[in-house]
């Protein structure tokens, strides 16, 4: 009876199984010396040396840098947004933050190359500017919106009566935040950080573009640690996004070592994701009202100072958004010319991006077609098992798949579709690889919506004597479809900017027809990979202009998907009022 629903969920689990299967068989195909892998910094396949310590170190440093920069600002901005600003300012700002969180990482990478690399070069007085620090800054800018968005949600979930009670005791705003709101919202705010961390750990392309990719680099002495930050390095993801997975073949010690890197990466990201999303609401806040020592003196000035700091922190994401838009609009001005959208590219960096837009849309549409039934089915299963332990397990699994580093999906797709099945580069392989990015978002929004169905609706439907079919048609589907579609659009907005998986499975830089005529050996061109190649490979001004123009087009496509999602969400808030 539940056959197809289970198929839906099964497909979600299948993704994880394929991924682990691919990595597992890889590891089994050659002995992996795990101890050596995690303790030795020298990586040289030619010499049979497979030590990944430098990559692990690089990942750690880059992520810590990103968190150090993003967390204080993100948290302060979230507090300012939710507690200091009046709703009529807070609402549009919150929307902008959500938009920022959806900007494709390839665009952050482009900004990294054009703005942050020169900045680090100037700051550290070092040539080049490819460095761990540049990667950390790019990641910080990337994950800050996620941290703000999740923290704002956590703060607004604190009941208003707590605030009212605290203010009526005569506490200043700073004291209310410190002693009432933060203890309540701490779990949610920490979740935001962990989700940001997971995104940072799994990000491949934006880091790849600015880190310099030098193998085997560890600071020799503690003293040179700081200068090593402005030097090139390598992370787990950049190693996997480079040429080596293509050179390693599909078995043997080299391939096994790369798969082992994938396993380490997967475990780290999964740990951060699961820890970040575990149910923390049913645990009481551990430390309730922590003592506010010496609070009596200088209360008002301190309150003012904190207000100023928090508003300044809020101004930063705002400035970032404006700055990014400004850069995109001024540099990517060619995108404002309709000819750029509707003419094909000529040569390496001329003409328009018609074929790239078509390719991107084709990939998205195919992904949507496959992901919608699977995600809906998985969502129904999770949603209707709301009370069970299984639901929690399924939900965690779904979240974990949603957080899987897409570079790993790309590599698994490369081995499975492009190599084993002989598809070569194929648009369909690219679309299938993007499906796991979209399915979890659909599943989770649908499940949440089903769970929020008030029991009265079901009761009245039954009391009216509706048949099951009538009940489904006139009650359940109208109730859940806006959420499902919102999930689909949000998922597609994320998939639109994916670069790493497409490079390995679906896209070429030159010569692919606008629309493929088959499936096997039928690559397309897509905006993200177009930007990647142009910005990475060439210093020619026309290529850079083309890259910025493509970035603006990509951001606009993402923005359209998101606005549709927001419009739908508003509509279904309305629907909820109608039903209750």
């Amino acid at each position: 009876m539940w056959g197809w629903v289970y198929t839906g969920m099964f497909s979600v689990v299948l993704v994880l199984a394929v991924l682990i299967g691919y990595l597992g068989t890889g590891i089994a195909s050659g002995d992996v010396d795990w101890l050596n892998l995690v303790s030795d910094p020298s990586w040289s396949p030619v010499n049979g040396a497979f030590g990944a310590l430098a990559m692990i170190y690089g990942s750690a440093v880059v992520c810590v840098l990103a968190l150090l920069l993003a967390v204080p600002v993100g948290w302060s901005a979230a507090i300012a947004l939710s507690e200091y600003l009046p709703p009529r300012f807070a609402r549009p700002l919150r929307l902008s933050v959500e938009l920022l969180a959806a900007v494709p990482s390839i665009v952050y990478g482009l900004i990294g190359i054009m703005v942050i690399r020169p900045f680090v070069s100037m700051l550290g007085g070092v040539p080049g500017g490819d460095s761990l620090l540049a990667a950390g800054i790019v990641l910080a800018v990337m994950i800050m919106p996620t941290i703000v968005a999740v923290s704002v949600d956590a703060l607004s979930a604190v009941p208003a009566r707590y605030r009212e009670a605290a203010y009526s005791l005569g506490l200043t705003r700073r004291e209310v935040v410190r002693s009432v709101l933060l203890p309540q919202a701490r779990a949610g705010m920490r979740a935001g950080v962990l989700l940001g961390l997971a995104r940072g750990l799994g990000e491949a392309i934006a880091v790849f573009m600015v880190i310099g990719r030098a193998d085997g680099r560890l600071p020799g002495a503690p003293g040179v640690f700081f200068s090593s930050l402005v030097r090139p390095g390598q992370t787990l993801t950049t190693k996997l996004a480079g040429p080596e997975p293509m050179l390693a073949g599909t078995s043997g010690p080299y391939f096994a070592a790369l798969c082992a890197l994938g396993i380490i990466l997967l475990l780290l990201v999964a740990a951060a994701t699961v820890w970040g999303t575990r149910k923390s609401s049913n645990r009481p806040a551990k430390r309730g009202l922590r003592g506010h020592r010496a609070a009596a003196r200088m209360r008002i000035p301190r309150d003012r100072l904190t207000t100023a700091l928090r508003m300044a922190a809020l101004a930063l994401p705002g400035a970032l958004l404006l700055g990014m838009l400004g850069i995109l609009l001024t540099r990517g001005g060619s995108a404002l010319n309709p000819a750029f959208w509707f003419s094909p590219s000529t040569g390496a960096a001329g003409g328009g991006v018609r074929d790239q837009i078509l390719g991107t849309l084709l990939l998205l549409a195919t992904t949507a077609l496959i992901a919608l039934p699977l995600g809906y089915a998985a969502g129904v299963l999770i949603g209707t098992r709301a009370t069970g332990k299984t639901a929690r397990v399924l939900e965690t699994l779904t979240v974990a798949i949603g957080g899987t580093p897409t570079i790993l999906l790309g590599l698994a797709g490369y081995v499975l579709f492009s190599s084993a099945m002989g598809w070569g580069r194929s648009w369909l392989a690219g679309a299938i690889v993007l499906v796991p990015v979209v399915v979890p978002v659909i599943a989770l929004t649908t499940a949440g919506r089903i769970r929020s169905m008030p029991p009265e609706i079901t009761e009245s439907a039954l009391a009216l004597g509706l048949t099951r079919a009538q009940y489904i048609r006139s009650v359940v589907i109208p109730y859940t479809w806006p959420a499902t579609l919102t999930g689909l659009l949000l998922g597609l907005a994320r998939a639109a900017g994916e670069t790493a998986p497409l490079i390995f499975t679906a896209t070429v830089f030159f010569g692919a027809p606008a629309l493929p005529t088959g499936i096997v050996n039928a690559p397309v061109q897509a905006l993200p990979t177009h930007i990647f190649t142009l910005s990475q490979d060439s210093g020619a001004p026309e290529a850079i202009t083309q890259a910025w123009g493509s970035a603006l087009v990509l951001v606009l496509i993402t923005a359209v998907l998101l606005s549709l999602a927001v419009a739908l969400r508003n509509r279904f808030e309305g629907a909820r009022r109608w039903t209750t």
């Binding site: 040539p127 990719r213 129904v380 099951r468 390995f504 070429v508 692919a512 088959g518 210093g539």
Partner: protein, 302 residues
């Protein structure tokens, strides 16, 4: 209330079953279509070429020129020469672009592939330095000096007679033909050592990326096809052991880092692939090589 909550889901089933059937049917149909398309496409699909970023500009120009004759050719550069060879070995593409000769190891790795290389021209890999360094006194580098620079033992240009400026090395990522030519020049048949622990050392991929970073980094050095620095005033190909990479020196192979450029196929080229390679070997196709700073087969005496 809770019972209703639990009953509600069970009511979903019939519709779900229908929708499930529909979606499974759609998926099945998709799979069938995929299969058909797969078998139908095998013969008529576009020619896929991938590999060396050195060969790619010529390959792309030729593909563009053949578009008029109804030939569809795609060019990608993921993974460089070795990436192209490995993709050809795993039957993903029909033409591998390579700026390095095939090795015995390549043939051993892919025993089911009958690699047939066709040389379309030649090129010189230069040791490229910035004009500032060249003007500062670095007019020649010996093999030992090149070795020291790329191994990180020479860290300041004044150690090789240049200005007081730190050396910044851009090495090519593994699998790049350019890098193998450098390794052959410096180490002969021996294996190159591990990458240096020097701080002024980064890794780059394609040729355009290399040129871009050389131009934007003071005191930098990298191996790069000399064809890519034509018309770039800021970059200089330094003579090696007293031999400059001039046309004559490359054509006579006196310049030590001369390398052939190949299109590699699985078996003798046939059909569209043959048309493509024949075009590159024709007088018209050969004209594309000097455009990108490479030498024609004729210039190499082939």
């Amino acid at each position: 209330m809770t019972t209703t909550l639990h009953r509600a889901p069970s009511l979903l089933t019939r519709k779900q079953k229908q929708a499930g059937l529909a979606s499974s049917a759609a998926l099945l149909l998709g799979v069938v279509l995929t299969g058909c398309a797969g078998s139908a496409q095998a013969s008529s699909s576009a020619v896929q070429a991938s590999g060396s970023t050195t060969v790619a500009p010529v390959a792309s120009d030729a593909a563009e020129a053949l578009k008029g004759q109804g030939l569809k050719i795609t060019v990608a550069t993921q993974g460089g020469s070795a990436g192209g060879i490995s993709q050809l070995g795993s039957k993903q593409i029909q033409v591998a672009l390579s700026s390095k000769p095939l090795s015995d190891e390549d043939r051993k790795t892919y025993p089911n592939t009958d690699f047939v290389p066709t040389q379309i021209g030649a090129d010189a890999v230069g040791i490229i330095i910035t004009k500032e360094v060249a003007d500062g006194g670095v007019k020649n580098l010996t093999k030992e000096q090149v070795k020291g620079l790329f191994e990180g033992t020479i860290t300041n240009w004044k150690q090789v007679g240049g200005p007081d400026l730190n050396v910044f090395v851009y090495d090519k990522e593994p699998g790049r033909g350019t890098r193998e030519v450098l390794d052959k020049f410096v180490y002969g048949k021996g294996k190159p050592p591990l990458p240096p622990q020097s701080a002024n050392y980064a890794v780059v991929g394609g040729n355009l990326e290399t040129r871009n970073k050389l131009e934007s980094t003071r005191g930098s050095i990298a191996p790069l096809s000399t064809g890519f620095i034509e018309g770039r005033d800021g970059l200089v190909a330094v003579p090696l052991d007293g031999v400059a990479p001039t046309l004559e020196n490359v054509a006579s192979s006196k310049y030590p880092m001369t390398r052939p450029l190949f299109m590699i196929t699985d078996g003798q080229p046939k059909g569209a692939v043959k048309q493509y390679i024949d075009y590159l070997l024709s007088p018209e196709g050969q004209k594309l090589l000097p455009v990108h700073g490479y030498l024609t087969r004729q210039q190499m005496g082939l």
